[in-house]
Amino acid sequence: MLTADLIRPRLGWGRGKVWTRPLGVRDERTLKMAADLTALYRDHVGRKRGELEEALSDYEGESLDYPVIRGLAKTLSDGCCFASQPPLEPGALREHLFLRAAERGPLVAHPDLLHRTTRDQVIAEAAAELDLTTQTIEESLYADLNEEQVLQETPQLSPRELIERYNLELARGLLYWASEMRIFVGDGYKDVFKFIKLFKLMHTIREARDAGGEPFGFAQGRPGRMGGYEITLDGPISPFVQATIRYGRQMAKFLPALLLCRNWKMEADIHIPSPPGMRDAQKGPLLYRLDPRSGLRSHYQASGPFDSKLEEDFAAEFEAKYRRAKRQWELRREDEIIPLGDTVMIPDFSFTHIKDGRRALLEIVGFWHPNYLKRKFEKLRQAGRKDLIVLIYEGVKCSQEDLAEVSGEALFFKNKPVLKRVLEAVERCAV
């Protein structure tokens, strides 16, 4: 992660807004720097971190581009693996050697009558005793220091990829100082919530309606449920304190997950701390905005369209059987979120009537661990939605009691669901 001194020089602000100044992925000078640095790192595989840092300092020289050079280098370093495997545990060796040296009085470079022992003598004695060469002793002595660690592996990034990654790190760097993040998403809900949960963020969700009166004003497409969602992200203590940046790091981690969506926007309240010894430059938060045009690339992996073969088969069969004129309902994957207090439920499929727009939701329950089922039924109960249909495998162990409080319809099936019956249920439940 980039440090504050590497982020600050790449920021611009004014009129209550703040932005980063990303590097151009086609700018030749920048590409050359990125290429030089990746090559420099590659050349230092097998060498000490201290040497690498020396080389970076030489490369930087008197260049005014030093914030960029250091930022690119930091981005590379964060992906590197450094390690050392000294033949002796350095801490134990130090203790052994230093205690022995202390017994001999101050060790000197220029021996005299009173001070006869040189450090080389002590090293030589220890080497003889431990049956090692003096060189091994010298090398092991501080092998655990950062600068003595050996570069094992560098990230495999092309110059362009390095610049893209740097630009992402810059954006994330700004988010370290975020007190609240508001996002709009129009797809990819499952991944979004997977990462919200993973990074222990808390959310408030509401449907994005028309483009008119909403504070965001960027809901696109059809109004209502299909318009996407606005989600506010913060953390547990946020409501009880004035803007805390305690969760900024988690928001920064979350950002690449947001980039996995196709249709998204983000704004965050940023509180840039003043540099040490400087007076506060800003009063109140600055607004930081991003959208797909910002050109940021995610390095997270999007999950596939389906979680299970059951779901995939269901969708395939539906598409095959109900074509063209026969189609009354449009099947969509995970396009609606049901908020449940501090969590959400995202049903597997939705059916939307092609003519009148009525909708029903479908959740498929396959073979799962009992605890998972317990949570699932608890969620279904909480959802309390009459337009939610549950398809349950007969192999699944659940009792009528489990289903008693589920307000929608439950259908059981043996091997695969009978589509006709499902559509009958959709017809009954859709609103």
Binding site: E62, Y66, L99, A102, P106, L107, H203, P236, F240, R246
Partner: protein, 484 residues
């Protein structure tokens, strides 16, 4: 289905499960994102209510510890009074004692008597290390077994029933596992009101809290001495209205400085030794210095900006090629001075001269500290040294197993090394605080022996100016103290 009402700890808050919006709850709770929630700080207040309502309380995860003191020292009367006052206030509140009056010892006693998992929060990593040592040495299991103490900061993260952390790391720790500690000890508690730090106290359910300081904030809780680290994140935000009293409890005990005599400090003597650069070093230094000095002279920075010229010069070096060149030259010349061969030669002769005394060597940078360590085979302590090794080195120094140790300014704040008779300063910043602390360290509780501080500076370099500024600040400080 079995839907039990429950109160649980989550991210520094208390959450009521299975209580809906219509439920009547204590006033500290807010309806947030579909749940009743309040800062964990309120835990002791709501406990009776939880019992009354038969709400399962899964908050406390702290442990009972059977501790005994491993410290033979007899507490001073004022230490016992302070402890009594704190327990009478149901184990909440701050104790104000002057520096050097044994605040740590009071905390150790509090932890021992309470016998529950405790978290100590220290302002700096240096002080964290000192607490670690004091806790390891001062506490033991009732059975006489050694007690392992945990440390939690950037370099090392190991959680134990008794753990030491820093203000910087405590927030995340408390948000995650705040309910595993029944007592929080805040060292230098006057730092706590800063917005980001205050959240530590807010997010903990610990019913017992002990604040320690020599300088309790008088009126304005936001007017504090800056910490050595970066300003607290969120420092610039408007203060949230929660005073130290709310977060920790009232001041339960105060002892002023004049009530304790300053006898503990010994006499000391400072000797400044000038060494020369080698011819080669001098040539390199002069070349770099010419570039550096030419810049601020040609641009009349001192004349135009007065004392703020340095800030202006640094600001310019971010976009002006000439200023940047000067900055790089300045960095190089400082390196030449810091690593001057003459210092190492002088160091060797001083080590010979004081071969029978404990010597503490200070350097401005890690690399010189490690060079000296390798050259004389003496232990080094830097910010890369882990808690256990650091403790072992200082113990070895105290017991006399080591005659000398070298350190790069990490022993800065009030770290006890009472056995040092001689301190050698090989460089450092002009910061007065650092200088005073270095002095104070070797002088602490010295009996009647005179301690010695050598400052080795390179003749005809910027170091002479730094040393001068450093001393001038000290005199200033002493005068200020005399005025009080």
């Amino acid at each position: 289905m079995n839907q039990d009402k429950q109160c649980r700890f989550h991210g520094g808050t208390l959450v009521l499960e299975e209580l809906d919006r219509a439920a009547s709850v204590p006033r500290c709770f807010q309806w947030v994102k579909g749940k009743w929630r309040c800062p964990a700080l309120h835990y002791p207040e709501i406990q009776p209510w939880l019992r009354e309502q038969d709400i399962a309380d899964t908050v406390p995860r702290w442990k009972r510890l059977k501790l005994a003191s491993a410290d033979d020292r007899q507490p001073h009367d004022y230490q016992q009074e302070a402890l009594r006052a704190w327990f009478e206030a149901r184990g909440r509140g701050s104790i104000v004692l002057p520096t050097g009056a044994g605040k740590t010892f009071v905390a150790l006693q509090a932890i021992t008597h309470l016998g529950r998992s405790s978290l100590v929060v220290a302002p700096t990593i240096d002080l964290l290390h000192q607490w670690y040592t004091r806790l390891m040495d001062g506490l033991q299991e009732e059975t006489g077994q050694k007690l392992e103490v945990g440390v939690w900061y950037g370099l090392e993260k190991e959680l134990r029933p008794i753990t030491v952390t820093t203000y910087h790391s405590a927030g995340d720790l408390v948000a995650e596992v705040g309910n595993t500690f029944k007592l929080l000890v805040f060292d230098e508690v006057h730092h706590l009101p800063a917005p980001a730090w205050r959240e530590i106290a807010l997010m903990s359910p610990a019913p017992h809290r002990l604040g320690l300081t020599a300088t309790y904030p008088e009126t304005n809780p936001n007017d504090q001495t800056p910490m050595s680290q970066q300003p607290a994140p969120g420092w610039d935000l408007a203060p949230h209205q929660r005073s130290l009293e709310e977060l920790i409890g009232p001041v339960v005990y105060v002892k002023n400085i004049d009530e304790l005599t300053g006898r503990q400090l010994a006499e000391y003597r400072t000797e400044r030794i000038r060494v020369d650069l080698t011819l080669k070093e001098r040539a390199a230094y002069d070349a770099e210095h010419a570039v550096y000095a030419a810049y601020y002279r040609e641009h009349k920075l001192r004349e135009s900006y007065g004392p703020g010229w340095w800030g202006e010069y640094t600001r310019r070096s971010a976009y002006d090629a000439e200023a940047r060149r000067a900055k790089v030259a300045e960095r190089r010349l400082k390196r030449i001075v810091a690593n001057a061969q003459g210092k190492l030669e002088k160091l060797e002769s001083l080590l010979k001269e004081h071969a029978r005394q404990r010597v503490l060597i200070f350097t401005a940078h890690n690399d010189l500290a490690y060079r000296i360590s390798r050259r004389h085979l003496i232990p080094a302590i830097t910010h890369q040294t882990r808690a256990a090794e650091r403790k072992a080195i200082l113990e070895g120094f105290r017991s006399g197993s080591y005659q000398a140790i070298v350190t790069s300014r990490v022993l800065n704040e009030g770290v006890d090394v009472p056995e040092a008779k001689v301190a050698l300063v090989l460089g450092g910043t002009a910061s007065a605080r650092e200088y005073i602390q270095r002095l104070g360290r070797i002088l602490r509780k010295q009996g009647n022996k005179t301690a010695l501080l050598y400052e080795i500076i390179v003749r005809g370099t910027i170091e002479e100016g730094i040393s001068y500024r450093r001393r001038r600040k000290v005199e200033y400080k002493v005068r200020e103290d005399a005025d009080c």
